[in-house]
Amino acid sequence: MLVILIFIAAAAGSYFFMRNFSQAEKQVPLSPVQSPLMQAGDITVLRIYQPRGGRLEMIEKKIPKRISSTAIAEAVIEEFFRQPLAEGVSGIPLNVKLLGLYKDEAQMLYIDLSDEVRRNFQGDALSEYLLLSGIYKSLVSNVQDFQDVKMLVEGRELETLGGHFYLKYPLKDMLTTELRGDTRI
């Protein structure tokens, strides 16, 4: 009987210890931007365009200050794909990682994304258009010193992401066409 009581007491003790311990681990640390010690001059405000309700909507995201345009462009892509997505935002593939970002001599900005952008994308023509134009518009709204954007997947050129639009060519021409609104029949 005594052995059973000691066993139950030990089990209960370890349960409470582990619960408190793991809760302490799960606590999300404050990001530098949320920190009350951070001053306004230490942050960069990014304008991110994400698909919501069949169109692009801009949200502002604050990040620790970045100086170079490449660092800002990297932050734009990371924030664009960051999970969890804001409420109502849809059509952004999960678990996409930025593998690389660089500019060539012709000021073409190359963004190299992990294969999840292709594997986890499921959508129709509009979803694909909004995803690509969201990336493009987010970049041009925050970084100015590039001519065009080219998307690579795992370092390679793909013909298409979702079977509707070309990825083989830079995005600007395709995505700067002024779309006329839908005509409802």
Partner: protein, 344 residues
């Protein structure tokens, strides 16, 4: 001990065919027609799919995912060299290279145009760099050579009208997935149903794909334009619960050099009014049949912008939200057919 030895031998015998299957062979063949030399490399699906290709006018380098054995005809006209996983084809006098990865069987196709070729189509836009254009401005591949274009409008012809119907996605591109179905399969079924409905009215039909196979956007464009169709229709699923009928966009071309460099084809420009009228007619017919949301939308979809004929892309309501049995598919096909008839 004896038992162990017997087990070992049996295991070896069982495993040996598996090892034999692992052996990768790449077979090379070539043919020549006019000023185009076609070189084809054929092997296993994953071997071809994961091959990296780099080409210049003087050499093609193909890096395969593993060591391989090259089987080629003795009279192959170019020099080849193998280095580990790399195959190098050295060439001379080549003016243009086009590369395609195809399936069923998996193969890489190089169409090499000899340098003296100057026979090019007129382009509607200034061509700063034809290599970077998304659709073929030069002679299409020998297999896909277009029929001569008639001087008179297509409507004046007495011959049956030709429809090209394109089932979206295919092969490793599944499109939208539902619990038990894939968009690529439903697109194909609907394409066949629409094809049957149009055939009954005495029309000619050409399907860009008849089976589950990968087909790039560029291949679909080449196939579509090579047939010089009366109408081109591409079928896809929508992500929403609405029918969407797309037409291409034909905004005034930009004068900015960097945009011109990569500009999408504007072949659709001279057909856009007809495409819009067709989209409206099909949309009206779908609305009458299904009473669902139906919208027409203009979008710079390469497959529409590059099509040199009346062209629409139809998205049916999401397969995630609807069941497409034979009866439902017939309704969709017949509604599209009625739309086409009212357009005419």
């Amino acid at each position: 001990m004896k038992k162990l030895l017997i087990l070992f031998i049996v295991g070896l015998l069982t495993a040996s065919p598996l090892f034999a299957e692992e052996k990768k062979e790449v077979s090379l063949r070539f043919s020549r027609q006019g000023n185009i030399i076609r070189v084809v490399l054929e092997s296993y699906d994953n071997f071809i799919l994961n091959a990296n290709i780099a080409d210049t006018l003087s050499s093609i380098k193909i890096e395969f995912p593993a060591l391989f054995q090259l089987k080629k005809p003795k009279d192959f006209i170019f020099e080849t060299s193998l280095k580990d996983r790399l195959l190098i084809i050295a060439m001379k006098n080549i003016g243009e290279i086009r590369t395609y990865k195809l399936s069923s069987p998996a193969r890489i196709v190089f169409d090499l145009t000899l340098a003296q070729n100057t026979n090019k189509e007129q382009s509607p836009k200034p061509e700063l760099n034809p290599e970077l254009k998304p659709d073929l401005k030069t002679e299409p591949t020998p297999e896909l050579k277009p029929e001569a274009k008639p001087e008179q409008p297509v409507e004046a012809q007495a011959v049956p009208k030709l429809y090209v119907i394109d089932a979206g996605h295919g092969g490793y591109d599944y499109g939208i997935l539902s619990n038990d179905s894939k968009e690529k399969d439903l697109n194909l079924l609907l394409t066949k149903d629409l094809s049957a409905a149009l055939s009954k009215k005495g029309n000619k039909i050409f399907l860009t794909r008849k089976v589950d196979q990968s087909l790039s956007i560029l291949e679909r464009i080449i196939l579509g334009n090579s047939r010089n169709p009366y109408i081109f229709i591409s079928l896809h699923s929508s992500a929403s619960n609405a029918f969407v009928v797309y037409t291409g966009t034909v905004d005034e071309p930009s004068t900015e050099a960097s945009v011109l460099l990569y500009s999408l084809s504007a072949r659709q420009r001279r057909h856009i009014e007809k495409s819009r009228a067709l989209a409206k007619a099909i949309g009206t017919s779908l609305k009458a049949e299904f009473k669902e949301d139906v919208v027409t939308r203009e979008m710079p979809l390469p497959i529409l912008n590059s099509m040199d004929s009346t062209a629409v892309l139809i998205e049916y309501p999401s397969l995630q939200l609807n069941t497409y049995d034979q009866q439902m598919r017939n309704r969709v096909a017949n509604a599209i057919l009625k739309g086409i008839q009212s357009y005419e």
